[in-house]
Symmetry: C2
Subunit: 78 residues, 2 copies
């Protein structure tokens, strides 16, 4: 699976299904503890995105796997 | 390949190799044109990351694939 597919799911064959959306993935590989400021940083990054784009909807997901924490934000644009 | 592997390369078997690093992936799936403000938005997001973390080194890569533009930043933390 390519990075593109892992970002937006399976590749669609028709170009007509393309939507305007942003996906932001913030992954932290940590040697020790989780970053205590991750939540605040996430909020600030989201503020930046809102400053530049017209956000219609946002979905968050978080995953972790051993020493990697991953935050995904999917931002549907107007 | 999982999202984790596509983010940080092949999974290492030894926990001792874990480093403190952040990876930020900003992907834009576009129905029409590229976002004109992408460059400025990238700079602002980077400012947010620098506000919270001690950055040792940053690598940027960009990729595009049909209607998806992907910007990756790998941030090595102190």
């Amino acid at each position: 699976m390519s990075l593109f597919e892992s970002l937006f799911g399976k590749k669609e064959t028709s170009a007509s299904v393309a939507r305007d959306r942003l996906k932001l993935v913030l992954a932290h590989e940590r040697a020790s503890n989780a970053l205590p400021y991750m939540e605040e940083m996430k909020t600030d990054i989201l503020e930046v995105i809102k400053k530049y784009t017209k956000v219609k909807d946002i979905h968050f997901t978080t995953q972790n796997n051993q020493n990697i924490d991953v935050l995904e934000m999917e931002i549907i644009l107007k």
